[in-house]
């Protein structure tokens, strides 16, 4: 049984076919990349998987259960956590409380404080744990978002451009964090524009274009496929 299965998933907004028949199969313990040019449907797909967007057609199964029509809080409680493209932290809560928020759905026998402290340590946020998000630099706020998702003890982590706005060294640090999470067995889906990051971290990539599967496979081989190059860079004309 795969951890997450998508069968011909379609998300249409009126006449706009944001996702138009995407299929995927994610196994436990791997780090998957979803790449594609702007407007290829990556974020809409993640919204559909986390049930924040309706699914027009198709089927989504998580941990063997059909969750195509499930409420977002139901899939979250089943063990799916996510970050957002734009930072969504609560400014009235400290960094620690923001991370604690991620643990509030832990089973009654879970230890929210321990999970929070572990996530804060893992993301290197000890020095700012008592600060409020608005007083932190952009890259640090991104780390807090990731820590909140990690603290939840999720089985599947959906990361929507988690390194956007970070410096090169910060990106490398986050890449290292994602690799250690994978080593711990956490399945992750990384939506990313930075191909260098994808090549460095992902085990397998799916390429989307115009809301459809364009290619899939090992990162280095897949990004060098002519169809993928064309989708990213545009068609090259002989003699041009």
């Amino acid at each position: 049984m795969s951890l997450l299965e998508l069968e011909d998933v379609k998300v249409w907004f009126g006449g706009v076919r944001a996702v138009d028949g995407v299929s995927m199969r994610l196994e436990e313990g791997h780090l998957y990349g979803i790449i594609g040019p702007n407007g290829s449907g990556k974020t809409t797909l993640i919204n559909a998987i986390s049930r924040l967007t309706h699914v027009t057609e198709g089927r989504i199964a998580f941990r063997g259960e059909d969750v195509t029509r499930a409420a977002p809080h139901v899939v979250a409680r089943m063990g799916m956590a996510r970050t957002f493209q734009s930072i969504r932290l609560l400014d009235r809560l400290t960094v620690r409380d923001n991370v604690l928020l991620g643990t509030d759905r832990l089973a009654p026998d879970g230890d929210p404080a321990a999970a929070t402290d572990a996530a804060i340590e893992r993301l290197g946020l000890e020095a700012v744990a008592k600060q409020y998000p608005s007083s932190l630099a952009y890259g640090t706020q991104r780390r807090v978002e990731i820590a909140r998702a990690v603290a939840s003890g999720a089985k599947l982590l959906l990361l929507d451009e988690p390194i956007a706005g970070m410096s090169r060294s910060e990106r490398d640090e986050i890449a290292e964090v994602l690799r250690t999470l994978r080593a711990d067995g956490l399945t992750q889906v990384l939506i990313e524009h930075d191909l260098r990051m994808v090549l460095k971290t992902c085990d397998f990539v799916y390429v989307l274009n115009l809301g459809r599967n364009l290619a899939e496979g090992l990162p280095a081989e897949t990004v060098s496929l002519p169809a993928v190059q064309e989708a990213y860079l545009g068609r090259t004309h002989a003699g041009a």
């Binding site: 957002f84 969504r88 509030d104 759905r105 290197g124 007083s135 952009y138």
Partner: protein, 292 residues
């Protein structure tokens, strides 16, 4: 000190009773539920205990039964209004308050009709009221510091985020609505048993305006907001007595200034000051700087 207390006891009682209604509305607003239904339940609570105590019930029993009995209609109302948000919810709950007021004006045998109820037995003391306010403040303090406080914060700021974190948004909103209604009922019950009169015009637009002023001036960010707001709103007319006919104009101007320059009320102003003292340059901290 005792002289001051004696001459201001009525104001203190008013502020304390108002603060409980403030807790009712603040709780709802903190979870992003713009409900004014607490004011309607304030009237229901008042009329109910006035009749029960008048019939010989003991005060604690009358209050407990009244609060418990209003939870079911509050749940029904919450379910009916569950899809409404922001201004639409405010308008719907405002309509509920008007309906309660009209019923009160016409149900003479229970409410005394337009004349109202007089000579309600005064069975609640200032000490008793203070203890209830302390219990409400302590409850809010514990609530806001724990899991529920974080969940309320996420509900108000970002429902989509809350649901992605496993929060059943619809269920939590209903829960908050019902607890808010219960506090409104409690406030009305204590008010009736303290000031011995209750008329239908007390529970209308005027009370909504007053409690919103409590929230605006006090702030929604912490447990002590309704307390600060209630005392300011109660004392402000006294402090501004020198202004005679211009008193209400100045009062309105103060509210306007607070809304513009301190939109989170006294609570927000104190917090902003604290943050400024902690990070005077207001420069975003990097991890390296924070560690130094």
């Amino acid at each position: 000190m005792f002289d001051w207390f004696d001459s201001n006891e009525a104001l203190i009682q008013s502020a304390l009773a108002l603060s409980i209604l403030g807790f009712s509305v603040q709780l709802a607003l903190r979870a992003g539920v713009f409900s004014l239904a607490g004011v309607g339940f304030w009237a229901i609570g008042g009329y109910s205990v006035a009749n029960l105590v008048g019939d010989g019930w003991s005060t604690p029993l009358a209050i407990a039964v009244t609060v418990a009995a209003t939870l079911l209609p509050a749940l029904g109302l919450a379910l009916i209004l569950r899809r409404l948000r922001a201004l639409y919810l405010a308008m719907a709950t405002f309509a509920f308050v008007l309906i309660v007021q009209i019923v009160a004006l016409n149900w003479d045998s229970v409410t005394g009709g337009p004349v109202g109820l007089f000579a309600i037995p005064v069975t609640v003391s200032t000490l008793g009221l203070t203890l209830v306010v302390i219990a409400c403040a302590a409850g809010t303090y514990i609530w806001e510091r724990g899991r529920h406080g974080r969940i309320m914060e996420s509900l108000r700021e970002d429902e989509q985020l809350a649901s992605s974190l496993g929060v059943d948004v619809a269920r939590e909103r209903v829960k908050v609505f019902v607890v808010s209604a219960g506090l409104g009922t409690l406030s009305g019950a204590l008010n009736a048993l303290m000031f011995n009169t209750l008329t239908a015009d007390q529970a209308g637009f005027g009370l909504i305006t007053t409690v919103l002023m409590v929230i605006v001036l006090g702030g929604t960010g912490a447990w002590w907001g309704p307390l600060a707001g209630a005392f300011i709103v109660t004392w402000l007319p006294e402090v501004l007595r020198f202004a005679d006919d211009y008193r209400e104009v100045i009062q309105g101007a103060i509210v306007l200034l607070v809304v513009v320059y301190a939109p989170e009320g006294v609570v927000g102003a104190v917090r902003a000051l604290r943050r400024l003292l902690r990070n005077p340059l207001r420069k975003p901290l990097t991890l390296k700087e924070a560690a130094e």
